[in-house]
Amino acid sequence: MVDFRETSTVTTPFTEVVKLTILQRRNDCIEAIEFHKKKVLSGFDLDNNMVKMRIFSLWLEIGSGFQDINNENLGLSINDTVDLEELINIFEKIDAYLYKIRLTKIASFKSYDTTDMEAENEANEG
């Protein structure tokens, strides 16, 4: 059991647990958008409350960090938005932030011209 009052836990570091919960919330958002679009394409008339609440939960998780870097409060705009496309735009903004803080950036290779031997040496130094 993770004790969030402690800065470290016995098995998993606290930061890792927070990272996992954020990623879980992001995944929930994607699933909600997928479900909503699937139903709409099948001819159902759905409101987008589920998508809205999932994105809002994600915002609650990362909001303070996002405001620190981007100086923008998305919480209010999530509440005011009714259109699905606008909600997806907001989600994309949050996703870009997650990529920026290297939470979803998984490709870590360096790109360089392989025929340039010195470039390869420099890329692998240090």
Partner: protein, 291 residues
């Protein structure tokens, strides 16, 4: 009218080698002359694949890129002793490129010898000389490991598959050289097989020098080889006698004439003397003759 270069000896870029080789040599020049760091280019391959030709072509290109004339007599050295001597000369004359041919004497087996320690020190300090050194070897693995630790050998050109009109070269970065060394050590892959296991950065080719230049290089290269052979057979030139006896060349010349000692062999206008001449001159020194 614009003069076009002979297609038998030059590519469309006006050089003896292809653009990939040019691009990488440019990067080495940039590293040495702009960043002020050391850069050693290794050219390896088995006998007769064109190592010396490519190395000399690179040295010529380096000189031309720095708007200097390529002086083959000064910018070509064989063996460690001559390399050290010519490095100093190139530094004083501000010549930007130097070929270190037959660098097999600088190997890891002899790394504990004083000679190798001196040479190692030269390599570690040659960053300050601002000279691009091109080193010719049968295989890059014989280079002393401490150079790799210091990151001095930056690129390797492996010469192979020589044809009548051109020869091929593969380029390997320092990273790939380290990978090859690791594979040879850990997986016991033979030295000559390793080039098939690691993919090169690029494949290029180079053509031979023009007949005039080729002949000059051949004379320089073969004369040095012949001198070495003669020294091993204890046949010495007047210069070598002077060096061994610690006397001036003029003294040796006069003494040989005085003692009526004749040469045993003449090769390309150089006179070779046998062991007896050396012994007689040593006796003359002991007696204090000609001092």
């Amino acid at each position: 009218m614009k003069q076009t270069k002979d297609k038998r000896f030059f590519y469309s870029n006006g050089l003896h080698f292809t653009d990939d080789i040019k691009k990488n040599v440019d990067r080495a020049i940039q590293r040495v002359f702009i960043k002020g760091k050391a850069s050693l280019i290794i050219v390896d391959g088995v006998q007769g694949e064109g190592k010396t030709t490519l190395a000399t072509q690179i040295a010529e290109y380096v000189s031309n890129s720095q708007k200097k004339e390529f002086l083959m007599d000064l910018q070509y050295s064989r063996g460690g002793e001559q390399f050290k001597e010519k490095l100093a000369k190139c530094y004083t004359m501000k010549l930007p490129g130097l070929v270190y041919d037959e660098a097999g004497d600088f190997d890891r087996k002899g790394s504990m010898t004083r000679y190798n320690r001196d040479l190692n020190q030269v390599f570690q300090q040659f960053r300050t000389f601002k000279i691009v050194v091109i080193c010719c070897l049968p295989h890059f693995k014989i280079i002393d490991g401490s150079l790799f630790t210091n990151g001095i050998p930056r690129m390797l050109f492996h010469c192979h598959d020589k044809k009548k009109k051109y020869s091929r070269a593969k380029g390997y970065s320092m990273v790939r050289m380290n990978k090859m060394l690791h594979l040879m050590r850990r997986k016991n892959i033979p030295a000559n097989e390793i080039y098939k296991k690691v993919y090169p950065n690029f494949r290029g080719s180079f053509k031979d020098f023009e007949p005039e230049m080729s002949k000059k290089l051949d004379v320089l290269s073969s004369t040095e080889k012949f001198l070495f052979l003669m020294e091993n057979q204890e046949k010495l030139t007047q210069d070598q006698l002077a060096e061994k006896l610690d006397r001036s060349k003029n003294w040796v010349y006069k003494m040989l004439k005085k003692k009526k000692l004749s040469e045993v062999l003449i090769h390309k206008r150089k006179k070779f003397y046998d062991k007896k001449a050396l012994e007689k001159l040593q006796i003359a020194i002991e007696k204090g003759e000609g001092c």
